[in-house]
Amino acid sequence: MKPRLLVQLLAGALFGAGLAISGMLDPARVIGFLDLAGDWDPALIGVMGGAVVTFGGGMLLRRRMAGGRGWFGRSLPCAMEMRIDRRLFIGALVFGAGWGLSGFCPGPGLANLAALRAEALVFAPAMAVGMLLARTGFGVDRE
């Protein structure tokens, strides 16, 4: 396998292992985090905090040490200069509703396929349908 692809294989494996060990694959834990009025489970703050600090710190370090250069002749990605508009709000709200409804966001919805869990086998294709709907019906395709 080319080194460029091997890096992505490793990246995905770290990501998937992280999702599993962090408890993100467990819908009850995710919904417990979103249930402020119930028996609130704050653990996902640790997941988010650990991930944001690691990614943000790593990008900063790499920029300090190597300028804007990534690996294999690529440059480091920059923060998305996305417009804060109605689409962003409505999209995020709709996504949040689906997340709260099921306890799955895209990563866990896909990673649970590894254990062939029935919910993932339903969620992943449904998510694909939702994405195709967004694209064909509304011409939406944002990076």
């Binding site: 990501f15 804060i84 409804l101 966001c105």
Partner: protein, 147 residues
């Protein structure tokens, strides 16, 4: 069920692994590796720019599968909703992440990590949407809808 084996340490360690995976993907591809964005581009592959995402997802399943197999807390899985509800949720998640330009990883990890204002707004909004939905489903008469 060994639910009590799960600690805040698992949450933080898992978060660090997610951050490291995102870093590797970003260094190696030059793109911001949000899961919803990568998945939508797998659905509509562009020649020469598709394989790396597929390989990433192969790794994602392998990493998750290994953890589930060999680490008890990682194998905790408690689905709360019926499959039809999960199907509706999947459509909402797919549609919403494309309209809003990202999910928990693209906005919540990568965007926030880089200090993007749009990502912060999106993250606060989808959190609020999730919290409001769970409130409606667990603390009002709507609970019977998802049973």
């Amino acid at each position: 069920m060994p639910h009590s084996d799960y600690t805040l340490l698992h949450a933080i360690a898992g978060g660090i692994l997610i951050g490291l995976g995102s870093l590797l993907a970003a260094f190696g591809s030059g793109k911001l590796p949000g899961i919803s964005g990568m998945f939508s581009r797998v659905l509509r592959p562009v020649a020469g720019d598709a394989l790396w995402r597929l390989v990433f997802f192969a790794g994602l399943l392998a990493g998750a599968g290994l953890m589930i197999a060999f680490n008890e807390p990682a194998a905790i899985y408690r689905p709360l909703r019926s499959l039809p509800v999960v199907a509706v949720a999947g459509i909402l998640v797919g549609f919403g992440t494309r309209l809003g330009g990202g999910c928990t990883s693209g906005h919540g990890v990568c965007g926030l990590g880089l200090g993007s204002r749009a990502a912060l707004v999106a993250t606060v909004t989808f959190m609020a949407g999730g919290i409001a939905t769970v409130y409606l489903l667990h603390h009002t008469g709507l609970a019977k809808l998802v049973r």
